[in-house]
């Protein structure tokens, strides 16, 4: 935890009055070679609401004389500058070489606060003896995705439209093989797909060749995501490893049920059979589950009702950002987070 002495030293170095000056928060990306849309999005959302209270600096290496350091790729650091916040943007059990747990543990232990996106990851870190954790999930931008006024209803006579909203990753952790397996097993007369995401043309083409009606957007302005979710009946997430994903709260917050494997925020937000279904990852089993849903108007209607009922419970980005600000403020003042 940041000591009061350290904070005083920082303020002395900056030559500012800690009561009136904005808090300087340094977002440390640790590499200039990798781009991350989600990092950019979170940082921009924080900055857009900073007002006069915070001053945000983004850098590859930590800058001197900052009040708080927020690390996004802690595994690439040899030591952290304090007070240090670290966000766990990935699944700690992801076996990918660069994301192996042992690469992160020393820095997480060193951090003043470790922010997890979901409760499962917090428990995972606690099992490793890391106790300075807290959960701040992804939120919903209510200016684009307002709480729905009424439950969704499936369009009569039309196939069940499933949405896939994610960019394609070469290492396949979004469950690309599971998507193709589903295309092989689902009936094109009962399902249609809306696919959004960079490099997802591979899946769009595959679904199209299997006979599904496919609507594909390689890129969609965020302001149109409300219209996007308004056009699908259910979001499908087939990932192996996730911290979020961001589309999960977006869909549920829009009153759209979600069919997802048990990853990331799924166990926090999806109530199986109420506002979505938890998939197994087994193609035959999941295809059967989805096919049953497509054939049963009542079951799908119940899920849509459930998603509508819980949509307002999904936290907004405003609330999420406020929690980040609380953490920054507490750390800068040397208090307990």
């Amino acid at each position: 935890m940041a000591s009061p002495q350290r904070t005083e030293v920082n303020n002395f170095r900056r030559g500012v009055n800690s009561v009136h000056a904005p808090l300087a928060v340094n977002h440390v990306l640790s590499t200039g070679l990798l781009d991350s849309i989600i990092f950019d999005d979170i940082i921009m959302r924080l900055a857009s609401r900073a007002g006069a209270r915070f001053e945000f600096h983004r850098s590859v290496s930590p800058l001197p004389k900052m009040d708080v350091y927020h690390y996004h790729r802690a595994n690439r650091e040899s030591r952290l500058k304090h007070p240090a916040v670290v966000t766990v943007h990935h699944d700690p059990d992801d076996p990918y070489f660069w994301l192996r747990l042992r690469r992160f543990l020393p820095r997480w232990r060193e951090a003043d606060v470790v922010i997890c996106i979901n409760n499962a990851h917090q428990r995972r870190l606690q099992a490793e003896g890391i106790q300075n954790t807290m959960v701040i999930p992804h939120g919903v931008d209510r200016s684009v995705l307002p709480v729905p006024g009424e439950p969704r209803r499936r369009r009569p006579g039309e196939p069940l439209r499933l949405g896939i909203v994610s960019r394609r990753h070469k290492r396949g952790f979004k469950g690309e093989d599971r998507m193709h397996a589903l295309f092989d097993r689902l009936n094109p007369e009962h399902f249609a797909f809306t696919i959004v995401g960079a490099d997802r043309d591979t899946e769009a083409v595959a679904a199209h060749r299997k006979g599904f009606e496919v609507s594909f957007h390689p890129r969609l302005p965020y302001g149109l995501f409300g219209a996007l979710y308004g056009r699908i009946d259910m979001l499908v997430i087939l990932s192996y490893w996730e911290a979020g994903p961001a589309c999960l709260p977006e869909a549920l917050g829009s009153g759209i049920p979600v069919a997802t494997t048990g990853v990331g925020m799924a166990y926090d937000l999806v109530q199986d059979g109420i506002n979505g279904i938890l998939l197994t990852g087994d193609a035959d089993c999941d295809a059967a589950t989805l096919s049953d849903l497509a054939e049963s108007t009542d079951d799908m209607g119940r899920l849509m009702d459930g998603a509508f009922a819980t949509a307002g419970e999904i936290p907004s980005w405003d609330a999420i950002i406020a929690r980040h600000f609380e953490v920054y403020r507490a750390l800068a003042e040397g208090g307990q987070v």
Binding site: H27, A47, S48, E55, H57, S59, V60, A204, R231
Partner: protein, 341 residues
């Protein structure tokens, strides 16, 4: 409306609009891509009677770490003509939301840039601004290669100057400086983030704005106006008044964005699949079946072909980048020739 973006040039349409704005005493902000910067300055000076300080603007740009097609920044011009005065930049500042201090500072800095001459404008618009919390002055982060220019123009009178490396977008310690500008394409992002509407002519900015979900008002003859994703004919007084009064919807809806996608795809089709055996064979290979080869004529493009077109234009649409606008522009000129043939 908070800010209007123009792409100045010598076109007749833009001259009409600039004349109308001048006549009504409306100040405006324009945005120029690097490739058009020299053209912009030339015509602005010609129309507004300003003094062109030197002819080195293009040479100055070569020192910046900017991709050629990037939008450089905003420029402020007085409607009455003459050299812009520094007191008038408050007009631009008032257009932007007061809470977004960083963005406002950036915009103001861009406006100031023109007053120091083209070199300063290049420097400012390719740099990062932030307000110093201690004294409230603007700090201008200047690329090292423009250090001499900054000193010669005596920009210290206006800014706190901080010199940064222009090879790694960082300071001398190798760190990036400032927020949120971490790369050279961000200034236009900031302007778009703060824009309620976009006015432009048929140029790369048109496509940049469409890709970001704007429904721009297009000056002059835009080919993509036929698909309904733009407000055409801005010389219409009612449309112009509605836009200025925030009464015109300036964001694309889903259907309009789809129309834009279709349009881009069709543009690319014309370019990507020529009517030659080799091109058609390549298309067949990519699309998997002979009957999926898209038509070559623009008129034949319909919604039911959209999915197929998007296969071809995947590279085009899925990779965000300033080159998209230029590519569109180039391709569109070719289509014009084909259609008019």
């Amino acid at each position: 409306m908070k800010v209007a973006l123009f792409e100045p040039s010598s076109s007749a349409g833009m001259r009409i609009i600039r004349g109308a704005l001048k006549e009504h005493g409306i100040s405006y902000v324009s945005v120029a891509s690097a490739s058009r910067l020299d053209d912009t300055i030339t015509h602005t000076v010609a129309e507004f009677g300003g003094v062109r300080r030197n002819g080195a603007s293009a040479a100055g740009m070569t020192h910046m770490v900017l991709r050629p097609a990037n939008i450089l920044g905003a420029w402020f011009f007085e409607p009455e003509g003459g050299t812009p005065r520094i007191k008038d930049i408050g007009w631009f500042a008032r257009l932007l939301p007061p809470a977004d201090t960083a963005q406002r500072d950036m915009a103001v800095a861009s406006a100031i840039g023109i007053m120091g001459g083209p070199g300063a404008a290049t420097m400012v618009t390719g740099s990062v601004m932030r307000r110093c919390p201690e004294d409230g002055r603007l700090t201008l982060l200047v690329a090292n290669s423009l250090r001499d220019t900054a000193v010669r123009l005596n920009l210290k009178e206006i800014f706190n100057l901080e010199f940064v490396s222009d090879t790694a977008h960082g300071n001398e310690e190798g760190n990036e400086t400032g927020f949120p500008l971490d790369n050279d394409s961000v200034p236009i992002e900031i302007l778009f983030r703060n824009a309620d509407a976009v006015l432009c002519q048929d140029t790369p900015l048109l496509y940049e704005s469409l890709r970001r979900g704007f429904k721009p008002v297009v000056v002059g003859d835009a080919l993509c106006s036929v698909v309904g994703c733009v407000h055409a004919a801005p010389t219409d007084d009612a449309l112009m008044a509605g836009l200025l009064g925030d009464a015109v919807r300036s964001q694309l809806n889903y259907e309009e964005y789809c129309a834009f996608e279709t349009y881009v795809a069709s543009v690319l089709c014309v370019e990507a699949i020529r009517d030659t055996p080799a091109s058609r064979a390549e298309a067949v290979r990519r699309l998997g079946a002979p009957d999926r080869v898209p038509p070559l004529r623009l008129e034949a493009v319909g919604p039911n072909k959209r999915k197929i077109f998007l296969q071809i234009c995947g590279e085009f649409l899925r990779t965000p980048g300033p080159w998209v606008g230029d590519a569109c522009f180039i391709l569109e000129q070719r289509i014009r020739r084909i259609v008019n043939r």
